[in-house]
Amino acid sequence: MTIKDPTVDFGFERVSWAEKAARVRQVFTNVSGKYDVMNDLMSFGVHRLWKQFTLSLTGLKAGQQALDVAGGTGDLARGLLRQVGKDGRVILSDINPSMLRAGRDRLLDAGHAGNVQCLIADAERLPFADDSFHCVTIGFGLRNVTDKAAALSSMHRVLKPGGQLLVLEFSTPVAPGLKPLYDAYSFKVLPAMGRWVAKDADSYRYLAESIRMHPDQETLLGMLENAGFSQARYHNLTGGIVALHRGYKI
């Protein structure tokens, strides 16, 4: 029997599992209002390309079902809705009500209704029957999950056989010479940007720290395989600043 460590990373701190969940919830409650603006500012708009690339690999067809876990303001969900069409179904889930509210409003503003549902759900215990979805996505959400292994298992469970999981997440830069620049940007520029634009430097300091504590490409790949995913592999984007991991439930 494996005894779990009673503490877990919250940025560079070690906190209890319950405290991490509460503090992550607080961070995203704080940033939900400026989340999209900050994403564009922090990534110079490149996050749209990362998400577009993710969507290009879903393999979804009209009439199928997809789940966007930790979907926040619904960037990926909107793309999924375009792919499954009116006969398909997309669930946008997030554990944070503020983020989900922002996502639901954006989906409604974009004219999506009827084939989309917004649901407060914990990624570690997804409230869906086994074999429910053709594709599950989680974009920039996994590193905030307290028990990542449990979340991956839960996402594996709700996928239909042959279904695919796509994990878009910050990772470890692999391009030569990129790491020092990226570190300087993350720890100097991001918190300052958060202070000026979102009036919240601490939340954006957590963002930079949580990226550093997130498993690197190979470690996350191993976690996918341990959760039962087949044909697991990853694609580095922008020199490894972000990586897209994918695996199938066979």
């Binding site: 290009s56 690999l57 694609h235 580095n236 199938y248």
Partner: protein
């Protein structure tokens, strides 16, 4: 495991869509389930194509073994693609492309790629919409026609300049006249040779 390049994932995604949309390609994919092919173009990283559950996966080959290996210089692969992968085109094993391992599996993959050839206009329409994709497709088609026409016209103009203006090359009628003259000269020489031989024989007979 090394990272799979993003462009390879995009190609894989397009091919898988084509496989799903074509019943014959899907049947070919099912036949290949559990097999793999390594494609090694000289000077480039090798690619490993594998099939599982009717889905094609393209990854960086690394040191992983494959059931069949197809390798060769880039020009040989280009010739293979330009000639078409089907019956009318060049077959693997010719023109510098080498196959090792299970040739039957390599042949089945060739059949799969032929059947799963993507509709580029359809793929473009997924990115930019139907109408713009149609227009881009028509523009690309016109551009290709223009390039072909330009190439043909430029060739004709260059030939005309070299033959008629610069006189660096002879034109076709002059060449034919020259060749006809050479033929006539050869025939005349043959006749003279025959007549001389005949005269020599008569002289020998008279003495």
């Amino acid at each position: 495991m090394t990272a799979t390049p993003a462009w390879l994932a995009a190609v894989e995604s397009v091919l898988n869509r084509s496989i799903e949309d074509s019943s014959s390609a899907a049947a070919a994919a099912r036949r290949l389930s559990g097999t793999s092919l390594k494609i090694a173009v000289e000077g480039f990283s090798a690619i490993r194509a594998s099939m599982a559950a009717g889905r094609l996966a393209l990854t960086a080959a690394g040191e992983t073994a494959a059931d069949a290996v197809i390798c060769g210089p880039p020009l040989a692969f280009l010739a293979l693609l330009a000639g078409g992968l089907g019956k009318g085109g060049a077959a693997p094993g010719r023109g510098g492309v080498q196959i090792s391992g299970d040739a039957q599996i390599a042949g089945l993959y060739r059949d799969l790629f032929e059947r799963a050839r993507p509709d580029l206009e359809e793929e473009l329409s997924r990115l930019i919409g139907d109408l713009p994709a149609r227009r881009v497709s028509l523009a690309a088609s016109s551009a290709v026609s223009w390039v072909r026409r330009f190439g043909r016209t430029a060739g004709e103009n260059l030939a005309e300049y070299l033959q008629e203006e610069g006189r660096d090359l002879v034109n076709k009628p002059e060449l034919e006249e020259f060749l006809t003259g050479v033929d006539d000269l050869r025939e005349t020489a043959d006749r003279v040779e025959a007549r001389l031989a005949h005269l020599e024989q008569r002289l020998k007979g008279a003495t």
